[in-house]
């Protein structure tokens, strides 16, 4: 019976649970979430790809003309790429709602979806 008072105290308290899709928790500054690459700063050195523990980054092309791909399904959001980049071209935003409602042919495809960062091509 040692808990009775605590129980009754919680009866008038607001529940700790958040009704997630209708209200979201306060974002905490500095959360590691979506990876964004500023392709114009990228020099195509490949350090991020070499360091990525989850093999979630891919380079198309070479050096100054390369394009980057980021696979959110494989990413473990450790932020090593941000640290490895010698030109600060990669940054992580706090945007964590990365799930989509787009249909995917099969569940296995999840890790194969990617976000492309394309360099504007000169005409």
């Amino acid at each position: 019976m040692a808990m009775e008072r605590e129980l009754l105290r919680h009866l008038v308290k607001k529940p700790a649970t958040i009704i997630y899709p209708f209200e979201s928790p306060e974002p905490i500054e500095g959360t590691r979430a979506k990876v964004e690459i500023d392709i114009l700063k990228c020099i195509g050195c490949g350090t991020c790809i070499h360091d990525c523990p989850a093999y979630a980054l891919e380079m198309v092309g070479k050096g100054l003309t390369c394009d980057m791909k980021w696979y959110p399904g494989r990413c473990v959001f450790c932020g090593q790429c941000v640290e490895s980049c010698p030109r600060n071209a990669i940054k992580q935003t706090a945007e964590h709602d990365l799930a989509t409602t787009e249909s995917v042919e099969s569940a296995g495809m999840m890790s194969e979806r990617f976000v492309e960062f394309n360099r504007p091509k000169k005409e």
Binding site: M1, M3, E4, L7, L8, H10, L11, K13, P15, A16, T17, I19
Partner: protein
């Protein structure tokens, strides 16, 4: 005749009891959730009131798996019998007025018999499943009966002595006519009945037969689909039965100001049972689960002597 049938089917009959059972399940879940700083069911219906109904319908629609090794007749019979017995027992509870739908001298004894039958059915359900967890769960259900049955019956005797009748309806009638609720003379009996009914309902701290972390779902492990829906429905009915019994025997049933006017009695009954359900769910959140040996020995060590003291006290007072 037609009125009788309507009464049986709608109010205070099957339809009313069905609604009440689902409502009390919701109330129990919601209240416990709030005590635990959670929200509980909230999406189906207003504040989740329709969630128990949705669960019931969903379970009815689910695949009904019957393992090969089960003893089929018993396994199929248990859920049906369990819900029928619960409904039958509920007809002895005076809801509409001071007279129950069915009543005869000695129906309190019949009621205890039905409640024992419920525990025996739990044992049979576990035994017929032939699953190890079910078997142990069933055995525990039977074992638990040994613990709570005697104090429960002794606690029921208290109001019967006060009203000098073994009929639930008579006891309620006596309380309504004299205006004295049996709880005033039976405070100990009331507490014992609440504790013993917690065991009967297999709720924490006496949820040993279905202890989730020990026995999966205990004796209900193998039940699925329609059978599980019926089982769960039977539990909800049992909750109504327990609350109704406590209300009738100790809290005066539908008695209260203006209870003779139609509907007012039902409202009194409803308020009182709601309070009992809230007490039961509060107790659910308050304890850790006992072990089976602790439960049985605790019942005999504390509840039985207290119940006997209660009866001796009554004899002395009423002389």
């Amino acid at each position: 005749m037609i009125i009788e049938i309507l009464k049986l089917l709608i109010i205070p009959g099957i339809f009313f009891l069905f609604t009440l059972a689902l409502f009390y399940q919701w109330l129990d879940r919601r209240f416990l959730a709030r005590l635990q700083n959670r929200r509980g069911p909230m999406h189906t219906g207003s504040h989740g009131t329709l969630q128990p109904l949705a669960d019931f319908i969903k379970l009815l629609a689910k695949e009904d798996i019957e393992p090969e090794a089960v003893d089929k007749p018993v396994f199929r019979g248990v859920p049906i019998l369990l819900s029928t017995i619960s409904i039958t027992a509920l007809f002895f509870i005076p809801i509409w007025g001071v007279k129950a739908f069915v009543h005869f001298e000695g129906d309190l004894i019949f009621m205890t018999f039905l409640m024992t039958l419920i525990a025996i059915l739990a044992f049979l359900g576990g035994w017929s499943s032939t699953n190890r967890f079910s078997t142990i769960g069933g055995l525990r259900a039977a074992m638990q009966t040994l613990g709570y049955e005697v104090p429960l019956s002794l606690a029921f005797i208290g109001p019967a002595i006060v009203a000098k009748s073994l009929s639930i309806s008579k006891i309620v009638e006596w309380q309504a006519s004299t205006g004295i609720w049996a709880i005033i003379l039976n405070p100990l009996g009331f507490g014992i009945a609440i504790i013993a009914l917690l065991a009967e309902l297999e709720k924490v701290p006496f949820d040993l037969p279905e202890a989730e972390t020990e026995l999966v779902a205990g004796w209900q492990t193998e039940f699925s689909g329609r059978k599980l829906a019926l089982l769960r429905f039977a539990f909800d009915l049992e909750l109504v039965l327990a609350a109704g019994l406590i209300t009738s025997l100790f809290l005066g049933g539908p008695a209260g100001p203006f209870y003779n006017i139609p509907w007012v009695g039902v409202i009194w009954f409803f308020i009182k049972t709601t309070i009992v359900v809230l007490i039961l769910s509060n107790l659910r959140g308050l304890f850790a689960r006992f072990r089976i040996d602790q439960m049985v020995s605790g019942c005999w060590k504390y509840l039985v002597p207290l119940a006997i003291i209660q009866i001796i006290f009554l004899q002395l007072v009423l002389g």
